[in-house]
Symmetry: C2
DNA sequence: GTGAAAGCGCTAACAA
DNA sequence: TTGTTAGCGCTTTCAC
């Protein structure tokens, strides 16, 4: 007699066994048919497929994976899901994943190392076929150690990982040349004749911040450019007010260099709203070249990183067999000279209107 | 005697049994300890956790899920992953998911109904706990039928689904008031005194396009405003050139109404580059109020939809038990009057410079 | 070409 | 408090 669950309208899904029974074949034959393997007559295979289709059967990937197969999941961990830097990388990853029949799980760490570890564990627990970690690492080697260990175990168990912008994780890495980018942007400002630059920086616990800041400061020091460093949270949120405040504190500023585009854009907008002209009164430059950078008015001078291609390439690395030792590829940045930078005013630096002070 | 796999340096992960053995307890005790269930002495539980930690054990969620548990996966299907409309929704979903300990799988359909079905099947196959489908549906009821059927099966098997902007799917729905949004924006243009409007539209196979277009056309017809409809692909890519071309074809145009912000922004930029002033020569308005809309110069007049909140709310719906019949909630749009719209030139409509013709 | 049966790693009765 | 054991739904030998 039939199954206990026959006629059940409960919460249980159809199993392959149900399909097999309905098609009058064995479990093995049903499995082979549905996966298009050889060793089944075309006739039988077609019938099984039709029955499955008609019944609305959907395979259970967990059973599938447990029984031996690999999953088709790629994991992506980003710092902040709503930051264009990461959405553009994510788009690249998702597109590349799709071409390989992988589906992408997106997790975000909010720049919290502990949460990042949790996400990593979760992806490992799901036996994701590939894991990509994007975004700056932490200067504190201690914080990186546990992630490194997790990834090592993960790869030892057959997983593959690639990182974007993380140096210490012991897996294939795509490394944006943050220092080189900073050199290029800083030199650009120097060449324009700027002599007083405010740098909008982020937490120096992040390697990206260190690299970019280091490069910029080096150039300014060498060239005798006076500069102030203002620490913010590395996001758009705090950058606008910070920029306006900095211009009040150091009215001799002729240019603002934000260490990422989100902050640069926030600065652009904040200055506009304060009646400060860019680049007339003050020049503004950023890093990354997110998509909107060139759409703004004035369009943003920035050091371009090919974000979507980086995402694509990271997935590429992570779906290729591991090399004998981790691959490391440096990604060059390209200076995009646009409208937001120009020579400083010939009649001296801007004096911020005190009217806009709080 | 030990296990065959002991000392193995192969590709096989540690199993719970390995941990149990190492800790000198049974499988059940190990399982209980690791999941923090009661019925284990604190001492034993702590020891097991430590052993697992030291060994680098990571649970296999597939085995876990097969054995009875629910997954902690939420699926999100969007049309286009790199469109800000969807990234903002995605951010809302991811944040809300995180609060519930869910991880989000993002799939994108590229506005291809077939691919959407594949993604839906994949999510169902993974026994995702919740599925969210975001983005316009298809006017052709036939195309919606299969998705509807899949979702019905999925929910019958214990899954939960919610959709954003899809009317026909038979599950909980968040429905942006696209028609109302169009009425508001169109009326705004009428009130400003515009008499000749070019509408940048999308494929009329999409319900969102139909709703927005219908609303706008109704207002213009009622108010005696002349209007042309230009069909594009509903993305930024085609909108810029289309807008410029339209202004050449219909030089009496005093305002461009794009049916989404991506197109409106592309229009803004294209006009600027063609030397056409906004709103001086031509007004521009859009739909959605993506984050950059207010950062542009001129800032964009648009009908605001609370995208991130919609994502959050959709996940909310999809993690709540199903109601006896699908919930439907209309989301109101709010007109954001900004700088890109103004009364038409008093000295008559713009005559496009023929110099910018190809 | 097809079928029977042994796992995959875990959870959840049920026993002790 | 702890242990034993029967599945969960599938893939995959190994027989036939």
């Amino acid at each position: 007699m039939g199954e206990v669950r026959e006629m059940s309208n409960s919460t249980t899904s159809l199993r392959l066994a149900d399909v097999a029974e309905a098609a009058g074949v064995s479990l093995a034959t049903a499995s082979r048919s549905l996966r298009g393997l050889t060793g089944v007559s075309d006739e039988v295979a077609a019938r099984v497929r039709k029955v499955a289709e008609d019944m609305g059967y959907v395979v259970n990937t967990h059973a599938q994976s447990l029984a031996g197969g690999a999953t088709s999941i790629a994991g992506l961990i980003v710092h902040q899901i709503d930051d264009p830097y990461f959405t553009e990388i994510a788009a690249g990853v998702v597109h590349a994943a799709e071409e390989r029949g992988l589906i992408v799980q997106v997790a975000h760490s909010g720049r919290d190392p502990q949460r990042e570890l949790r996400q990593l564990r979760s992806l490992a627990a799901q036996r994701a076929r590939a894991i990509i970690v994007a975004g700056s690492g932490y200067v504190d080697a201690h914080l990186e150690a546990e992630a490194r260990r997790l990834l090592a175990t993960y790869e030892r168990n057959g997983g593959r990982a690639a990182v974007i912008g993380r140096h210490q994780l012991g897996v294939d890495a795509l490394l944006p040349d943050n220092r080189g980018a900073a050199l290029a942007v800083a030199r650009h400002l120097v060449e324009l004749g700027h002599t007083d630059v405010t740098i909008l920086s982020g937490p120096e616990t992040l390697t990206t911040v260190q690299d970019r800041l280091g490069g910029a400061v080096q150039v300014f020091a060498e060239e005798g450019v006076r500069h102030h460093v203002v620490a913010t949270d590395f996001t758009a949120a705090g950058a606008g007010p910070a920029a306006v405040q900095a211009l009040q504190a150091w009215p001799e500023t002729t240019a603002v260099l934000a260490l990422n585009d989100s902050m640069a854009i926030a600065t652009l907008v904040a200055l506009r709203r304060s009646g400060i002209s860019v680049p007339g009164d003050v020049s503004v430059a950023g890093f990354d070249d997110v998509a909107v950078a060139e759409l703004l008015f004035p369009s943003l001078t920035t050091a371009r990183l090919p974000l979507a291609e980086m995402g694509r390439e990271a997935l590429d690395l992570a779906t290729r067999p591991a090399a004998s030792r981790p691959r490391r590829k440096t990604v060059a940045a390209q200076l995009m000279r646009r409208e937001s930078t120009a020579p400083p005013r010939s009649d001296g630096p801007l004096r911020v209107r005190t009217a806009s002070a709080s």
